[in-house]
């Protein structure tokens, strides 16, 4: 353990250096990354890291307005976010884009199951930042949601759904979430459904915006070349544009049993896409989260060194890509294993994947595997904080989950504390192969035709 503690000191210092930008923090000062957090309007938490090396500023506003809030119209959350910058406060989309680009700034929106994120990247020079911020406020608070803009974005989303249907792995992902979550909102695909998109109109989009894009439902992450007072003023300017509003209600618990445990979908392709998963971990369940992260790293999260990579790729040449991933969400997010394999070898691949999962649940991890995985996860942690983009990603997640300011500082000690017993305990609690759904999307092997070039 001594080696680990030494490592911790060094890595923590590196993490601190990343945040402070000095690159010269002494190793014995094992301090946390300097994340500043404060409460702003309507309790919205703001997270800020000063980074003066590059003259730029990133601001992300996250709302609890992901597709879990779509209700009976899947696609609503994403359509709303996509249309935000398509006209605001009397400006049409073109005018808005020209004014923003004249400052050198960029604006983007994204929506996943649990949140909507609106991101502004600007130069830190005072005048362009002020102009970009003014436009950002208008986009967040006064989007016009004109009929034509909604129609255009809807059409693009409908086409994107058809593009998804060209891909076996996309089809598999959709089916997997539906089977894992049943009636729960996480079953809803962020990209929407044909029926959901067809039912949407400017009134529903505007109503969704009014209910969800409010200060009480927001969190802000800021990274860049600003002083604390400037960051506070920036956050205030953004939040003052929004009504106070109400936070979105808590989501229900996911079902304990999947609706189905194996789904086969016939699909014309040379490969079969396999997706397996189950709801596994919610934010806040720290005693389980960190052991599961280590187990995921060993199973299939660790890229070129994982068990699945070795078993599927190195030893058998079954697949180019096989990986696992743990999604930590406000209520139990899924642990997912995915692979694409030659169609003729589907059954062999399934049996390899299932036996690796069974071996993990039955035998857990030995101390060496845990040590290697923890060394990687703690050693690569500073890499994730090495750029403003990386810091913003971390702070956005913290803002979405309203985490304490020392969340990043506690990452390494919590990883360090993982041992074989805690891994076994977490696996016993959350990885029950009997509750795992398997989705298999590919051709009927008997009927496979000639392979395209």
């Amino acid at each position: 353990m001594a080696a680990r503690h030494l490592l911790y000191a060094v890595v923590a210092a590196l993490a601190a250096a990343a945040a402070l930008g000095t690159g010269a923090v002494a190793a014995e000062e094992a301090v946390a990354p300097e994340v500043q957090r404060w409460q702003a309007r309507a309790g919205a938490p703001v997270y800020f890291v000063e980074a003066h090396e590059v003259p730029m500023v990133d601001v992300a506003v996250v709302f609890d307005a992901g597709s879990a809030r779509d209700g009976d119209t899947p696609g609503l959350a994403r359509l709303t976010a996509r249309t935000l910058d398509q006209g605001a406060d009397g400006m049409d989309a073109g005018t808005l884009a020209r004014r923003l680009e004249d400052t050198g700034a960029r604006l983007s929106t994204s929506v996943d199951r649990s949140q909507a994120r609106v991101h502004l990247r600007s130069l830190s020079e005072e005048a362009p930042l002020a102009e970009a911020t003014a436009l950002f406020r208008q986009v967040l608070a006064e989007p016009t949601f004109k009929e034509a803009a909604i129609e255009r974005e809807r059409q693009q989303m409908q086409q994107a759904l058809r593009v998804q249907r060209q891909s076996a792995s996309k089809v598999a992902e959709r089916a997997l979430y539906e089977a894992m979550y049943g009636e729960h909102p996480y079953a809803t695909p962020p990209a929407g459904t044909d029926e959901g998109l067809a039912a949407l109109d400017p009134g529903r989009v505007a109503a969704f915006h009014e209910a969800h894009y409010v200060a009480a439902n927001a969190g802000i992450a800021i990274v860049g070349d600003l002083e604390r007072a400037e960051a506070e003023a920036l956050a205030t300017r953004v939040l003052d544009a929004l009504p106070a509003g109400e936070p979105a209600p808590a989501l229900p618990e996911p079902p304990a049993e999947p609706a189905e445990d194996e789904i086969r979908i016939d699909f014309p392709a040379t490969q079969t896409a396999i997706a397996m998963g189950l709801p596994a971990i919610a934010r806040g369940e720290e005693a389980l989260e960190y052991p599961l992260r280590v187990a995921d790293q060993v199973l299939g999260g660790g890229g070129l060194v994982s068990r699945l990579f070795r078993a599927m790729r190195e030893e058998r040449g079954l697949s180019y890509s096989t990986a696992s991933r743990l999604h930590v969400e406000p209520v139990r997010g899924p642990w997912i294993v995915r692979s694409s394999v030659k169609a003729e070898r589907t059954e062999e691949a399934l049996s390899v994947l299932r036996s690796e999962i069974r071996r993990l649940t039955q035998e857990g991890l030995d101390a060496t595997e845990i040590d290697d995985a923890v060394r990687h996860l703690t050693g690569s942690f500073p890499l994730a904080l090495a750029s403003n983009s990386g810091l913003l990603r971390q702070l956005s997640a913290m803002a979405a989950h309203r985490l304490p300011a020392d969340h990043l500082a506690r990452y390494i000690p919590r990883m360090e504390a993982v041992d074989p017993a805690s891994v076994q305990q977490a696996l016993d609690a959350r990885l029950d192969p009997e509750r795992m759904v398997t989705v298999i999307v590919g051709p009927d092997v008997e009927a496979t035709g000639a392979e395209p070039e």
Binding site: V10, A17, G104, Q156, Q271, L318, Y320, E453
Partner: protein
């Protein structure tokens, strides 16, 4: 409104002055010919090492297409000193991220680590530069993996299949016509001896560039490189094979594909054009770069403004010009029609936008906005050490040279509306055009 734009643009200049203040680049050459480039970025305690071999798919020919990429896979399979996978385990244990990529002009291997652990990456890279163990059984398994990679990336994607055919048509005499991963039949017959010969011929220190960006001291990196790569014997490497496109206009070409598994139509247009490496003068390449920027540099640019929002005939429309390549290149437009029957109308609209570049000078405000976008991007690029290492490596591996980065800003600012019109007239003309249409077998409504 105009006043506001000008005001913002003028104020911006103060901020953008710092874009030029990118860190200095330090260069050193070892006795065996390996070039080492170091760029300091002291903010984060992290460093990236990228080793670039100046060889890629454009050095290949049938029936060995895909050999550069196959060799890249085998570079993870062990050396005279180490077992297969040990490289990855060692880097991973030190908290590093690593991988490799093969392109038309280069094959590159990278590691990102805490800066004080970087020496491990150099030690391991030096070993596999000259002591790779090529094992027959491992090769056979890995070729299965590569065939799965091709199925995943190409065979099961109607768009990738269509693009492969389109690309093979748009390039006439250039090796850029062959896919980087290799044609299926070539992958089926590939032998370990092909890889061994490729390794022997191209993986020489004099045919490689080591780029290090991060929290490091240049002199310390040079010493480290001497310590590890100094042991690699000097060897003669091949010189990059010639592969220029034919100079006179190749003629208008069309490729149309109807694919059962396609659900959405897609349109490609590409004009044969010189790259920064082959242009008579760099100014021409920069003018083409600005032409692409005018068409699609941001949400306010012409294609999104006129085709996606204005007429609404496209759901997406983009333009790109790959300037940093070794051989002649393409100026490309890719678009999806809003409805399945609209491919011809969309092709006509894209060509009308290209005609407009030939016929009308770009307005001052529009040009200034494009320059502002590009200069702001230069500032944002400084946030990513990985991106900067890639930039330097690509310039070196394509023969353009890393010093071009220092000239980038001045050359962008020097482009005039007349330059854009001139290159559009010369290169963006019908005899240089290839049009590709991908059609779903069932109108995409299934």
């Amino acid at each position: 409104m105009t006043l506001l734009y000008r005001c913002a643009a003028a104020l911006l200049l103060a901020g953008l002055a710092t874009a030029a203040e990118a860190a200095e680049i330090h260069e050193h050459e070892l006795d065996n010919g390996l070039t080492v480039l170091v760029e300091e970025d002291h903010r984060a305690g992290v460093a990236v090492s990228m080793l670039w071999y100046h060889v890629g798919a454009s050095y290949e020919h049938r029936p060995i297409t895909g050999v550069s990429h196959a060799l890249e896979h085998m570079m993870f399979k062990g050396t005279e000193q180490r077992d297969s996978g040990e490289f990855s385990r060692l880097i991973s244990r030190e908290g590093g991220e690593h991988n490799a990529f093969t392109a038309r002009d280069y094959t590159a291997y990278y590691e990102m680590l805490a800066a004080d652990r970087l020496e491990l990456a150099l030690e391991l890279e030096a070993e596999r530069m000259h002591q790779l163990a090529l094992d027959q059984a491992a090769f056979e398994r890995e070729m299965q993996v590569i065939r799965e990679e091709r199925r995943q990336r190409v065979a099961d994607s109607p768009e990738a299949r269509a693009f492969e055919r389109f690309n093979a048509t748009a390039y006439m005499a250039s090796p850029y016509r062959d896919p980087i991963i290799g044609w299926r039949h070539d992958l089926a017959r590939m032998e370990l001896a092909d890889l061994a010969a490729w390794y022997e011929r191209w993986y020489a220190p004099a045919n490689a560039t080591l780029v290090v960006v991060g929290d490091v001291e240049p002199e310390a990196i040079f010493d480290m490189a001497e310590r590890h790569f100094g042991a690699v014997p000097a060897r003669a490497a091949g010189s990059p094979p010639e592969g220029r496109e034919i100079d006179t206009a190749p003629g208008k070409r069309q490729v149309e594909l109807t694919l059962d598994d396609a659900r959405v139509p897609l349109l490609y247009l590409a004009y044969n054009a010189p790259s920064l490496a082959t242009a008579e003068r760099p100014r021409d390449a920069y003018a083409l770069l600005m032409a692409a920027e005018i068409l699609d540099g941001g949400s306010s640019a012409r294609l999104p403004a006129r085709l996606v929002r204005g007429e609404g005939i496209a759901t997406s429309a983009s333009a790109s010009y790959s300037a940093v390549v070794r051989l002649d290149t393409l100026f490309s437009l890719v678009a999806r029609p809003s409805d399945a029957s609209g491919l011809d109308g969309l092709a006509e609209a894209l060509r009308a936008e290209v005609r407009r570049l030939r016929q009308e000078p770009v307005g001052e405000a529009e040009l200034q906005r494009a320059v502002t976008r590009l200069m702001a991007s230069e500032v944002y690029e400084r946030d990513a050490p990985m991106g900067r290492a890639r930039q330097l490596g690509r310039l070196e591996a394509t023969g353009i040279g890393w010093r071009e980065r220092e000239r980038f800003e001045a050359r962008i600012r020097a482009v005039t509306p007349a330059d854009i019109q001139r290159v559009a007239r010369r290169y963006l003309q019908p005899e240089r055009l290839t049009i590709g249409r991908l059609l779903p077998a069932d109108d995409g409504e299934a």
